[in-house]
């Protein structure tokens, strides 16, 4: 899977994050207070305004102190009851329909149906859950205000903070229940969907005979099921496996009537798919490079790809990619290092079309520099290849002699080891990224991983609910709905807006071509390509200036608003990797931060509002 940014350790992340949060929070409070004071000043003059703002802030704090859990729970219960009354459970039926008709949308011939199904299921779950809680949260408070039921509530000793929090919690509970049900169904659907078998017809299998006429094995193919088939290769004893297609393989065993080694197989047993729905727990290292002359370098070579995620090393030279793995304990890797890797290939000449590009992997002691003899492999792109570095390694010394060393006594030093990758064919290149090599430290359960992914959806749902409730404190239902969607949309285009702004300010069109909103409109109307520079006429200059002013608040918004897709962890799940707890914890903290902010904003807005005008 692609991991463009390293996931920091939670312990290292939390400190700066909290500081930043406090800083941003105080800044916002100051800005809001200043704005409120300005508005009030125009109405009542600066002194009264100051007094009002001060009292308002004080009352807000007082409200927080008076918050009662019992009341919050009462209001949450009410929200849940309201949801049930609105037949929110209908959405479960909708989900069931989606699951039933998922086949319409999903292409079983896809390169990796497991990934596709997972992506689909998680998207459907997330969309439905978020949509339901969004609609609930956005329409609830305005409906109460319209029906005036709110008047009966606020004339009880209820703080606006409690009303807001009660709603947030209530709808979140509804969302949580929905999510739990959908998550379980979705998980069952996926497990059932990707699981399949193949048949092997006798006429599709050919026997390989060795020179002496004995059976050297069987070769053939499976039946065509779910949009794919496998090639099979059986050993003389009748056991073997298929090739890897659509991200999985099967174990195959020939069933013979009598002795397996002498009689012809009468049937073949094909096992369940292997390699789908895994949950690898990787131990990742840090990557550095050696250039073709063997000199250290921070980067590899670019082969001109637009995406600079992978760096390339030249084959047949001293160029190498070196990963340093830390924290390797002998008891964890008692049988050696299970190295897994994805290596991209870039050919500068066709070479031998029918043969892959070979490379080598060695392990080295980072302190003594003692390194093992190479392990050779042929690059398989886009699929995970595995090399097991055994406990006992051969080491060739300068004089040509070979001796055996132990991985942990001689190579791993203080829990650290280096893995060196080289491409062996001249003028051909290997492309790698830091996340492409890792030690498989263990296997998690797919079900738990799926649950973790649902936790990501849960965070999104909480955010959506909170934003919805926050807007519903001062906007009418449909407007609040649109406002929430806008916020989420801006969050979705967070990076794009940031790049656009940067491009606008620096004047460097390569960062994000096309300019701001007015310039884009101008280009659409005049049918000017986004890559074309506009003549710097007065009109164009003023358009750019206005755009900068328009982009500035968008940039600010993009920095503040949450990005739901950033909370998504579907990539891990689909890629077959365990979702790191650090990531979950960080996402959780971020969500919590946002929740707090939206809660405070909502409570403040409701308090400042006349609920019975």
């Amino acid at each position: 899977m692609v991991l463009e940014e390293e996931i920091p350790k939670f312990s290292a992340w939390i400190g700066p994050a909290l500081l930043w949060y406090l800083f941003a929070g105080s800044l916002i409070v100051v800005i809001v207070a200043a704005l409120a004071w300005l508005v009030q000043s125009t109405l009542y003059g600066p002194l009264v305004a100051g007094d009002r703002v001060y009292r308002g802030l004080l009352a807000g704090l007082g409200d927080c102190a008076g918050i009662s859990l019992r009341r919050i729970w009462a209001l949450s219960r009410l929200a849940i009851q309201e949801s049930l009354r609105r037949n929110v459970l209908v959405v479960l039926g909708l989900f069931a329909l989606i699951v039933l008709f998922a086949g319409w949308f999903l292409d079983p011939t896809s390169v990796n149906p497991g990934k596709l199904y997972l992506g689909f299921m998680l998207t459907a779950t997330s969309l439905l859950v978020c949509l339901v809680t969004l609609v609930l949260s956005v329409f609830s408070l305005p409906a109460d205000i319209r029906s005036k039921a709110i008047q009966t509530v606020v004339t009880k000793p209820v703080r606006s903070a409690e009303i807001v929090l009660g709603r947030m919690i209530g709808f979140s509970i509804v969302g949580t229940v929905l999510l739990a049900l959908m998550g379980t169904t979705g998980w069952a659907f996926i497990v059932r969907s990707v699981n399949h078998r193949h048949e092997i017809a006798a006429e599709d299998v050919l026997e390989n005979r060795a020179d002496d006429g004995t059976t050297a094995g069987w070769e053939g193919r499976t039946s065509f099921d779910r949009g794919h088939r496998h090639r099979i290769d059986l050993k003389p004893d009748g056991s073997g496996r298929t090739d890897s297609t659509q991200g999985h393989r099967h174990d195959v065993r020939a069933v013979t009537a009598g002795d397996a080694t002498t009689s012809r197989p009468i049937a073949y047993a094909v096992g369940s798919p292997v390699g789908l729905l895994e949950s690898r727990k990787p131990l990742r290292g840090t990557l550095r490079f050696l250039d073709r002359g063997g000199r250290p370098s921070t980067k590899g070579i670019s082969v001109g790809a637009e995406w600079s995620y992978r760096q390339y090393i030249e084959g047949g030279t001293l160029a190498a990619a070196i990963w340093t793995f830390d924290g390797i304990a002998e008891r964890e890797f008692a049988n050696g290092l299970p190295l897994e890797m994805i290596v991209r290939v870039f050919r500068t000449h066709k070479g031998e079309i029918e043969k892959g590009i070979t490379g080598s992997v060695r392990v080295r002691n980072p302190i003594s520099g003692l390194q093992s003899d190479p392990f050779y492999f042929t690059a398989k792109e886009f699929t995970i290849d595995a090399i097991n570095i055994p406990r006992t390694l051969a080491v060739t010394s300068v004089d040509g002699g070979t001796r055996q060393v132990d991985l942990f006594t001689d190579i791993v030093a203080a829990g650290r080891v280096e893995v060196i990758l080289q491409c062996l064919q001249p003028a051909q290149y290997y492309g790698i990224a830091q996340a492409d090599f890792y030690l498989r430290a263990g296997n998690g359960s797919f079900a738990i991983n799926y649950a973790k992914s649902c936790l990501g959806i849960w965070f999104s749902m909480l955010l959506v609910t909170a934003i919805g409730v926050m807007f519903s404190t001062f906007l009418a239902g449909p407007v609040a709905l649109l406002a929430t969607l806008s916020i989420l949309l801006i969050g979705q285009f967070r990076e794009f807006i940031q790049r656009l702004f940067e491009s606008q300010v620096t004047g460097d069109a390569t960062i994000a071509p096309g300019g701001g909103p007015i310039e884009s409109l101008y280009r659409i109307v005049t049918q000017t390509s986004i890559t074309l520079d506009l003549d710097p006429t007065v009109a164009v200059q003023s358009i750019k200036t206005i755009d900068t002013f328009l982009l500035a608040p968008m940039r600010l918004g993009a920095g503040i608003f949450p990005s739901l897709s950033a909370l998504g962890t579907a990539d891990f799940l689909a890629g077959g990797f365990d979702i790191p707890l650090d990531l979950l914890a960080e996402n959780g903290m971020e969500t919590l931060g946002y929740l707090l902010a939206f809660f405070v904003a909502g409570a403040f807005c409701l308090k400042a509002r006349e609920v019975a005008s």
């Binding site: 692609v2 319409w104 292409d107 992506g119 088939r229 886009f382």
Partner: protein, 523 residues
């Protein structure tokens, strides 16, 4: 005070000005009214625009446009309920959704996420199933751009086939779009048959049961050649175009494809080392296709369709017309020529007499005038005819001009597709010497690679001899650069063989003319 049990008396005070403000009409606000009127007004042009067609009327403007361009859903091809559902679900934002999806597809391609890329394409075509460019562009993306990202040729082949299958889907949705069938033919022919991996691709394609079962069950192994399958596709496309479906591409090239695939098929057989009857059959097929192409009516930009093969016939017709005029007005042509010559001034005469390189600028001008004067055409002859014959003569002259012009037009169109060369190829390659020349050349190359020098030398010489016969019989090939270069390569290897045998190229060399020409080119 009393507490009587009287019924409640509810106080209701008339609130002064009740709701009788002006601007109210039928209980509606004036704004509402204006909006309603505007909406109603807008519905009028809308109905004119989008009234659906039925048996009694051709419908509104859009409906008529749809009929005109064959765009109505029922005409286009398969209607997919999913596609319809998804399109409805976008609530009219279909095009925006497609734009976003296109953008995402580009992103997925950039970050090499092939699974999501395919899924995105799938969604995109569900939204716009009748948009030719999406099918064409994205199929090309799959077969040409993504396939090469993989290192294993099996993977590459799989992606090439994905592009082809993508087109198959497109064809199902657009049964009246010959271009898509044409693209499929192109992919199957050229991507599989001309890529660097053509050897592997052609092998895999032949063995691809899944494809052939889907495409046309019962296809025999020899028929599974990619070029033959491509030809099938082109023939299907041609048939579709002939059924009256608008062909939105250049007919001249489009109709030449069956011939080209047949030729490529034969060439591929030669490269594979398949000779004998199989190859002769292949070239016979190519010849048949060539003849079919020759007599096919091709629309031109002059509104008059032409047939590529009829140039010679048109010229003959022109000659015939000339002869008929001559018969009608014997000696008139020469007489007119003579008359014109006599009308030349002495300066013009002198200028004409001067050798071309010695002429001054003034003389050159005069020569040009003189030549224009001297040019006599049959219409001129007809115009000058006596009154009783003039009408008949003029008719004949007009037919002469028509034949001449058609021939010229055919000539121009022939140049565009290199028709003369391909016709000569088809005619020549099927002959026994040509088949022999190819087979021996292939054998020679094999022997050369296996270092069987004497055998190679002999084979080369046999091939050259056969080639001599071919070239002598086909002047077009003799003049062709590509053929010459191909032969030059053979000769170069023949020379290497000779060098290793310590021999010299025999003089005169049997293909000396070719050698001379290519060496000039090389210099």
């Amino acid at each position: 005070m009393s507490l009587p049990d009287h019924p409640q008396r509810v106080l209701s005070v008339q609130l002064g000005a009740a709701k009788t403000k002006k601007g109210f009409w039928l209980g509606l606000h004036s704004e509402t009214l204006v909006a309603l009127v505007l909406i109603a007004a807008m519905l009028v042009p809308l109905s004119a625009l989008s009234q659906p067609a039925d048996s009694s009327s051709p419908g509104g403007y859009l409906a008529r446009l749809r009929t005109q361009f064959g765009l109505s859903q029922a005409n286009l091809g398969e209607i997919d309920p999913t596609s319809e559902t998804i399109r409805l679900a976008t609530l009219g934002l279909k095009n925006i959704a497609v734009t976003l999806l296109w953008d995402r597809a580009n992103h997925y391609k950039k970050v090499e996420d092939w699974t999501n890329l395919s899924a995105t394409l799938e969604q995109m075509i569900k939204l716009q199933p009748n948009f030719y460019s999406i099918w064409d562009f994205q199929a090309h993306n799959l077969s040409y751009n993504i396939s090469v990202e993989f290192d294993d040729y099996h993977d590459r082949y799989a992606w090439v086939m994905k592009g082809i299958e993508f087109l198959r889907q497109g064809i199902a949705f657009n049964q009246r779009e010959p271009r898509l069938l044409g693209r499929m033919g192109w992919f199957i022919g050229h991507k599989i048959g001309k890529a660097d991996e053509k050897k592997q691709y052609r092998r895999l394609f032949k063995a691809d049961d899944d494809f052939h079962d889907r495409d046309r069950p019962g296809r025999t192994l020899p028929e599974r050649d990619n070029w033959l399958v491509a030809r099938e596709k082109y023939l299907g496309a041609q048939q579709l175009a002939d059924s009256g479906v608008p062909l939105r591409t250049t007919a001249l090239i489009f109709h030449g494809e069956p011939m080209m695939t047949a030729i490529n098929y034969a060439r591929s057989l030669e490269q594979d080392g398949t000779f004998g009857p199989a190859l002769r059959d292949a070239w016979t097929l190519a010849g048949d296709e060539m003849r079919r192409y020759s007599v096919r009516e091709i629309p031109t930009s002059w509104d008059v369709p032409i047939r590529l093969g009829l140039r010679e016939a048109e010229l003959t017709r022109a000659e015939q017309m000339a002869a008929e005029i001559e018969q009608l007005l014997p000696g008139q042509f020469q007489a007119l020529e003579k008359l014109q010559r006599e009308s030349l001034t002495t300066e013009q005469e002198n200028a004409l007499q001067t050798a071309a390189i010695d002429r001054t600028e003034a003389e050159q001008k005069m020569v040009a005038q003189a030549e224009a004067t001297l040019k006599v055409t049959w219409p001129m002859v007809a115009s000058a005819a006596p009154a009783d014959l003039r009408n008949a003569a003029k008719k004949l002259a007009a037919r002469y001009v028509e034949a001449e012009e058609t021939a010229e037009m055919i000539d121009r169109y022939r140049d565009i597709v290199n028709y003369n060369f391909w016709r000569a190829t088809c005619e020549a390659e099927v002959t026994e010497p040509a088949l022999r020349a190819r087979e021996t050349a292939w054998r020679a190359e094999q022997e050369f690679q296996n270092a069987q020098l004497q055998a190679a030398k002999k084979s080369y010489e046999e091939s050259f001899a056969a080639w001599r016969e071919v070239l002598d019989a086909a002047p077009v090939l003799r003049a062709d650069e590509l053929t010459a270069e191909e032969l030059a390569e053979l000769i170069a290897r023949y020379r290497m063989v000779l060098e290793q045998l310590d021999e010299k190229l025999p003089t005169p060399f049997i293909l000396q003319d070719i050698l001379d020409r290519t060496s000039t080119v090389a210099q």
